[in-house]
Symmetry: D2
Subunit: 158 residues, 4 copies
């Protein structure tokens, strides 16, 4: 089987507060409704806007931590993959496509706020010399809290 790629990147806003649920298993599931906006000029040269709505899902500890910090209207950047599931309702097979999210980062006004409080709940240890970003990637690795550029240049070993 050839390893493939199934990648989605969305930048937009939450259209509603997040909804946290639990599977029968006890696994947390967070569902987000997210808008991405697009501007364009139509065939009559009139400026137009269009909004696309997306179903975003976070699983596991991330779901719980994000539930505490996300609010309707937040500007966010989401990365994940597509998943379409099917289910039967009223004797009819239906399909639902979601973005299974792996990362979330604040954009807009919250990008300069304190790091989301829920994130420290699961024992994040900030490494010496590590910046705490406004990202909400919930791995416990202190390094993930560093902005993408790493330590100051003057401490580079090369």
């Amino acid at each position: 089987m050839n390893e493939g790629l199934n990648k989605v990147i969305l930048m937009g806003n939450l259209g509603a507060d997040p909804e946290l649920r639990y599977t029968g298993n006890g696994t947390p599931v967070l569902q987000l409704r997210m808008a991405t906006n697009e501007s364009f000029v139509d065939k009559n040269k009139e400026p137009k806007e269009r909004t696309e709505w997306h179903n975003i899902v976070f699983w596991g500890q991330r779901a719980e931590a994000l539930a505490k910090v996300l609010t309707k209207g937040d500007g966010v950047l989401i990365e994940g993959g597509l998943r379409t599931s099917s289910y039967e309702k009223d004797g009819i097979r239906r399909y639902r496509t979601e973005v299974i999210a792996r990362d979330l980062r604040f954009t807009g006004r919250r990008a300069l706020a304190q790091p989301p409080p829920g994130l420290e709940d699961d024992g994040e240890a900030t490494q010496p010399g590590t910046g705490v970003p406004t990202t909400a990637r919930l791995g416990k690795n202190g390094a993930r809290g560093r902005p993408p550029e790493g330590p100051a240049l003057d401490e580079l070993p090369y």
Copy 2:
């Protein structure tokens, strides 16, 4: 309006031959069924594979040109954006999420084949010094036919 981002990147294979249709308008629409494969190790440390299926759509001239060259099984890289449309069927509102594709590039065995014949049909002129790639981006700009790295280094103007 906050300009956002709605981006999908998929690498995988076509599960069927493409289907070309036309709107009432006469606009060509190409529909592809594409699989992306993923490997992982499950909770019992057993290697597993999973396939996700995607609905891909090309609009316009690209739809027609690609219809001529794509075949079931082809390895492709697709870029586009998500679009969910709703329609009524049997008195029930249904939703369908598709990837509206903007680019397609062959991967795998066809990446080294000749450029897709359909692509020359719309008058591609290859510029002097321009490689013709195995990409099926259908703009007529000769430059698009150049591999992403541009001309040979010794003809750089800087």
Copy 3:
């Protein structure tokens, strides 16, 4: 040889007006200087900002068309691939990494402006029912001018 992926997506602003040059060959080359900004909270919980600067290059007809419409300060979304070239200067081998761009789309205030005038210069024909987007993708395929979602839903053939 395994087909790989070499993909860069940048959203930010031009730090200077674009520079158009020509190779010995006569091939147009457009160089852009682009900033991407990032906000984060540092280890002392102070909000910080950081700017990364990128060298962007367009080749061919796109270079010329974009040269006419891009201005210092413009908000843009760029897609392309990395290319590092090496050259000798003062007897020393040096390296320069650039993003070889394949697409550019306006974000921010220009996203709702008229389509860039330079773009019609190369004979764009707008298809019936096709919106003209604020994107500056320079393929001549009318379909590329359609927003990512295609025609209105009521003209879908399915």
Copy 4:
């Protein structure tokens, strides 16, 4: 500040074993040399191949864990952002562009192997019902170990 996007996605192979170093600070830094391959047809319709080489850097705990499991030749998918740093050498200012990596996932033959041993070293706890993927994302969140599609459909709470 305008929050931007600085995103790189590469799929290819390691050209050498990884090199692990430490900053004066003690922060681990892992450097990878990675090739991405591209196939195209040149202006004479001859099939050609081209390889681009990239400098990849991981910081922090991830650097150490990955150092244990990566080997020359490995097929990997890397995600990160661009960072160009400047330094003085022989009285000349030089620039070096790197991809500051945030994620790594195996592709190819290792995608079905056991999860990288180094990864358990930092206390990974697999959640009930959670698959352990072949990804080397080093957050300690058990959820990250789930394939992008989440739990089985029959345990969905909706």
